[in-house]
Amino acid sequence: MASQADYKDRQFLAVIGDEDSVTGLLLAGIGHVTSPPDNQKNFLVVDNKTENSAIEAAFERFTTERKDIGIVLINQHIADRIRYRIDTYTQAFPTVLEIPSKDHPYDPEKDSVLRRVRRLFGE
């Protein structure tokens, strides 16, 4: 299904989330900024002012353009803002995982994995 070249260099996690979620994941040591002149970050801090197009662009960058990312973590309430993009995402790499945030607890109804489960059982 996935060739060796697809996953060999995917050694980073990427995050799209609110400030607290990103702070937590960076504290855990997954934050990475590529060497200059690129200076590409593997995270995006989203607040109320961030536009959906910026979120979508970051999602596109992490999933399609960059070949060094293995897992993309995204806050569930932010994933809701680009839900159509998340639901139609079918690539083998990277894996997209929705995580809860401080103000928006995890909702199994919206989780894309559990939605797939319901679809499989014909609901």
Binding site: M1, A2, Q4, Y7, K8, R10, Q11, F12, L13, E19, D20, V22, T23, G24, L25, L26, L27, A28, G29, I30, G31, H32, V33, N39, N42, V45, G70, I71, L73, A92, F93, T95, L97, I99, P100, K102, P105, Y106, P108, D111, V113, R116, V117, L120
Partner: protein, 233 residues
Amino acid sequence: MSTEKIDSLLQQYLLLLNEYTTLRNNLNTLQSSFYHHLARANFSAQPGVRYYGQDYYDERMQATSRLETTISEDNSTPEFKLVKPSAAKVNPTEKPENTEKKQNSQEEGGDVKSISEDASSSDQTQSEASAPSPDSKKDQDGDEAKPKPTEKKKSNDPLRWFGILTPLPLRQAQADAKRAVEDVIPRLATISEQMKALELEVRRERKKRAKAEKEEAKLKIKELEEKVAAVEV
């Protein structure tokens, strides 16, 4: 035949789903504990610290833990694991530096002592005789040796972005985040991929079964038609 296969696939699928929901619960508790600790850290923030957030991120940060992906042979799904390559890489590079310095200090100290000794044997005696002297030196001015490793840690540990004396809640928050990232998230991603692969397989088997059923029905209709024709004759 195919129904049995589908059943066994679904059984595997449900086991994975069970693990997925358990891990989700773990992640939720870890995350809520993290947010709680971070809120406490912000509440009791040191003077001068506005908010433990993006203002303090290091713009040249390097990941201290990285993903290691392997493809399982049975269903060709990826398995994610978080490893810490930096710890393994930093130590070997640090050690030679230290030993080189030791050797230098040994040579310097040895030169003074072994002026009258032979050149060939002096090297050996230097290392033997002067071995205790750097140790005693170390005790006296241990400050020289100690800052090196702490500097390394400073640059690696993201906690240092927020200052040298970070509050306890922030360290607790970091511990929660580390557990979530190291233990739960890679496993969740692995299971999600395994479930995806199983879904594909179940769908494929269902299609096969539907096709087989159609063909069976067609055969039955044919048989019935032949029987009807025989009766009519």
